[in-house]
């Protein structure tokens, strides 16, 4: 049984590293391709859920929004962000 466990261990970890490696690779490829062939609008994902303009950089806001969505499992929504 331990022998099987070693196989599972090996194949499992290799597969996971392989897949996540390929995810990084193909993701970058995808971003490159989209930037190259379809880079029309400056980043505006989902204006509906977008809060009003603040001094905080776009990326941070995107992360905050997604974090709140996760944390509240879709119930919460950021409507206002203020820098301290």
């Amino acid at each position: 049984m331990f022998e099987t466990a070693w196989s599972v261990f090996g194949i499992g970890m290799v597969t996971i590293f392989l897949i996540l490696g390929l995810v990084v690779l193909s993701g970058n490829l995808l971003i490159w391709a989209v930037n190259r062939f379809a880079a029309t609008p400056p980043e505006t994902d989902r204006p509906a859920t977008r809060p009003q303009q603040t001094g905080i950089d776009e990326e941070t806001i995107a992360v905050l929004v997604s974090a709140v969505e996760w944390a509240t499992r879709g119930q919460g929504r950021i409507t206002h962000i203020q820098e301290e």
Partner: protein, 401 residues
């Protein structure tokens, strides 16, 4: 006298006298309710699980799950008429493996791959943090579990509820209850487990590595010029990759990505997205919880196995966290652009709790070190990592059933 006898026979008191262990189970259920309601530990799942456990352990209530050997011989209608609605729900929704993929569809419909796409490199560390799964496999075998049972137990280290439940249903339905409880409890305890492991394995200096400063020092990431399109295409690319390499994870990963796709497409499929993330997800959560809880009767729960699962499950969690951290440390040995080891810890998954905990730990050492967005990258990739791990376990261990 005869009257009192009949009255007494109708009550559960006689059964309780014969089977006093039920009282202990009721106590466990009340304790879990306390954790879910009072302590707010994963209430969305602990409350239904604990309530299902409560219902199942009232003697004579007829809400406990019967043995699958008994159920297998019956059709659904006969099962419902003989053993009541909880068995109908359990055998049609849970034992068939239906609800976990449905919940994964809802999870997908709530997941934003944005943070991961913005820091794709970090996704790689979602792999290392699955090592707890495969390490505890050995421990579980040593503890006398069969191979499939060991696999079901080990997946607790994936720190992902639906994945753990799906794997347990397929590999060891007899252990479903304790495995689900352990998985959700440890996910709720992430704010305790991660700091504990981090303290054992990292130095203050490492925790002060500031991801934003590193980004400024070594700017590499290209801006994404059409995020909407990338987000629509990414689930398709990811799905194809996973499906090609680990087909057995398609029911989980495929449904996750379908949910994500109908979210990212936007207004034209908004009706579908709202159903997947709302009523379908919530309904599935209620019945998954109640049914998983209902599997935990005195007979199945009060066993040495349960204790072993609790211990091994904790180890799986801890080793996964440590594995993620170690991977970052090894990476830092060779790379000029350093990564905060907390990014490795969040590879565990337990989204988004792990990321928030990591963020707080970083801020404690350096109040300007906001790494939430970086942590989310490995955090989300950890979900994929554990679904892939489940696929490997299912594919390699089903033959020993």
């Amino acid at each position: 006298m005869d009257f009192l006898r009949q009255l007494y026979d109708m009550t559960a008191l006689g059964d309780l006298a014969v089977q006093p262990a039920s009282l202990l189970m009721l106590a466990v259920a009340f304790f879990l309710l306390y954790l879910g309601i009072g302590k707010k530990y994963e209430p969305l799942l602990l409350v239904p699980i604990a309530f299902g456990m409560l219902l199942a352990n009232f003697p004579g209530g007829g809400m406990d799950i019967v043995d699958q050997e008994v159920a297998k011989k019956m059709g659904l209608l006969e099962l419902a008429s003989e053993y009541g609605i909880m068995n109908l729900l359990y055998y049609s929704l849970i034992k068939t493996g239906l609800l976990p993929p449905i919940i994964f569809m809802g999870v997908g419909a709530m997941t934003d791959f944005g943070p991961m796409l913005r820091n794709l490199r970090l996704a790689f560390f979602g792999a290392a943090a699955q090592i707890g799964i495969f390490t505890v496999l050995f421990l579980a075998i040593w503890m006398d579990f069969t191979l499939p049972q060991a696999g079901a137990l080990a997946i607790i280290g994936g720190a992902d509820g639906p994945t753990a439940i799906y794997t347990a249903i397929r590999l060891a339905p007899e252990l479903l209850g304790p495995i689900a409880i352990a998985a959700y409890s440890y996910m709720a305890l992430v704010p305790v487990i991660i700091p504990f492991v981090v303290r054992l394995t990292t130095t203050k200096k490492e925790l002060r590595i500031n991801m934003k400063e590193q980004d400024k020092l070594f700017p590499t990431s290209r801006p994404i010029r059409n995020m909407r399109l990338v987000k629509v295409l990414f689930p398709l690319v990811l799905g194809t990759l996973v499906a090609m390499l680990v087909p057995s994870s398609v029911p989980l990963v495929g449904m996750l990505l379908f949910g994500n796709l109908i979210k990212e497409i936007g207004s034209t499929t908004e009706r579908l997205h709202s159903a997947a993330a709302g009523p379908i997800m919530n309904t599935a959560t209620i019945f998954l919880g109640l049914c998983v809880g209902a599997t935990m009767t005195a007979e199945t729960f009060l066993q040495a196995q349960t204790l072993k699962i609790v211990v091994a499950g904790f180890l799986a969690f801890a080793i996964s966290v440590a594995g993620g951290i170690m991977a970052v440390k090894v990476y830092n040995l060779f790379a000029r652009k350093k990564i905060n080891p907390l990014i490795g810890a969040t590879g565990l998954s337990a989204v988004p709790m792990a990321s928030r905990v990591a963020n707080e730990l970083a801020l404690k050492e350096d109040p300007t070190n906001h790494l939430l967005q970086y942590a989310m990258a490995s955090n989300i990739s950890g979900v994929i990592g554990s679904a892939v791990a489940a696929g490997v376990l299912l594919s390699m261990l089903s033959q020993y059933l």
